[in-house]
Amino acid sequence: MADSFTPLDRDGMAARAARDIPEGWVVNLGIGIPTEVGNFIPDDREVILHSENGVIGAGPAPAPGQVNPYLVNAGTQPITLRIGAGYVHHADSFAIARGGHLDLTVLGAFEVSETGDLANWARAAHEPVKQIGGAMDLAIGAKRLWVIMEHTTKDGAPRLRRRCSYPLTAKGAVKRVYTNLAVLDVTPGGFVVRDIIPGLSFEGLQARTEARLSRE
């Protein structure tokens, strides 16, 4: 009996994660889908977005024609500021990340292991062209690390793994994963499914996952 379901699109994944972010949290949103999470936090819910380049209190993208060329986020995209925002320099900004002052960091990933290992910066351990950025600092420092990613690769290969096949960004750091198919917590017993999209069975989700899944 085949499952009949529609995977979440990027907006759907971002919106699903945004639902779980309470007022008052200090949050760093990584580049890609994580950045879009910001678009789904209602204006009246005061969540303070941190950006590695020294913004505490980032706001949404500016209206066309309203771009301030001095104000960008960690992806160097133009942003606005929330009322109440402040700036720090790069070392202080990473003191925030490394020092445990972020309630939450949301990053993209290639793979997450059942022990919470994160791989999101390189396809091979020793390729010369590296894109590290701030991910390693963010991953080790946050009180909670969530990942947003497609449940499988375009070719259908699973990204929720027993062990990561790609080089690690950080070990045992991921607490929760939002995919286009499900929400899963990383627990001492491995991945626990918190939520599955309508029409997809637990067995159907397991079939698309390398790691062993548990029900809540």
């Binding site: 007022e23 008052g24 200090v26 005061e46 303070i48 941190h50 505490i56 209190g57 500021l81 009322i83 109440g84 925002a85 402040g86 700036y87 720090v88 070392a91 990473f94 003191a95 925030i96 990340a97 490394r98 020092g99 445990g100 002052h101 420092g141």
Partner: protein, 219 residues
């Protein structure tokens, strides 16, 4: 809506447990949150570890906290024999650890910045290095130092908004921004309350993300 203002010193100090490590900002009386310190005396927590630049002048709230026997250990950068703190120390009633001021500031900074240890040449050639880990780096003797986190930080500010964004006036700044980052519970007394947004973003010195409670203490 985020609103970190509390209505009383009692509310500000609520829950500080016995045995807590208290980071107390200030240099002399300047930048020292006197109302919060009075509140801590009222609140009753004991067996405290107090981290503060000095043991305080006699009759000051710091000295009072010490003479009330509420502090088990004082970490500071200097102490005079002819002072309340000095007399308690010499009478064997107070444990005292005296460390260099720059090392104190940097250990607090390391606690806030998530640096698990660092080396410094400060004091490496002195008796303070006895029995401790020393390493030659670039031909220079260096001491290994560890972070000095608090359980609670008591902070004195000039302006604060409801997110806890802070400014300081003149040398009121001193240890305040460093200690504000170095404890999971950061309690502020502020001379002035301002609307959110009244402090221009370039002029926020301590971000509200480091602050938990703010008490308005005018004048």
């Amino acid at each position: 809506m985020i609103d970190k203002f509390v209505r009383s010193a009692a509310e500000a100090l609520d829950g500080v447990p016995d045995g807590a490590t208290v980071l107390l900002a200030g240099f002399g009386d300047v930048g020292m949150p006197m109302a919060l310190l009075e509140g801590l005396i009222e609140q009753g927590a004991k067996d405290l570890v107090l981290v503060c630049n000095s043991g305080g002048r006699d009759g000051s709230p710091v000295a009072r906290l010490l003479t009330l026997g509420r502090v088990r250990k004082l970490v500071c950068t200097f102490i005079r024999a002819a002072s309340d703190a000095g007399r308690l120390l010499l009478a064997g009633k107070l444990e005292v650890e005296v460390i260099p001021q720059g090392t104190l500031a940097e250990r607090l900074r390391a606690a806030g910045a998530g640096i698990p240890a660092f080396y410094t040449p400060t004091a490496a050639d002195t008796v303070l290095a006895e029995g401790r880990e020393v390493r030659d780096i670039g031909g220079r003797r260096c001491l290994l130092e560890y972070p000095l986190p608090g359980d609670v930080a008591l902070i004195d500010a000039w302006q604060a908004d409801r997110w806890g964004n802070l400014t300081y006036r003149d040398t009121q700044r001193n240890f305040n921004p460093v200690m504000a980052m170095a404890a999971p519970l950061t309690v502020v007394q502020t001379r002035h309350v301002v609307e959110l947004g009244a402090i221009p973003p370039e002029q926020v010195i301590t971000s509200g993300i480091f602050v938990n409670r703010v008490l308005h203490v005018p004048g």
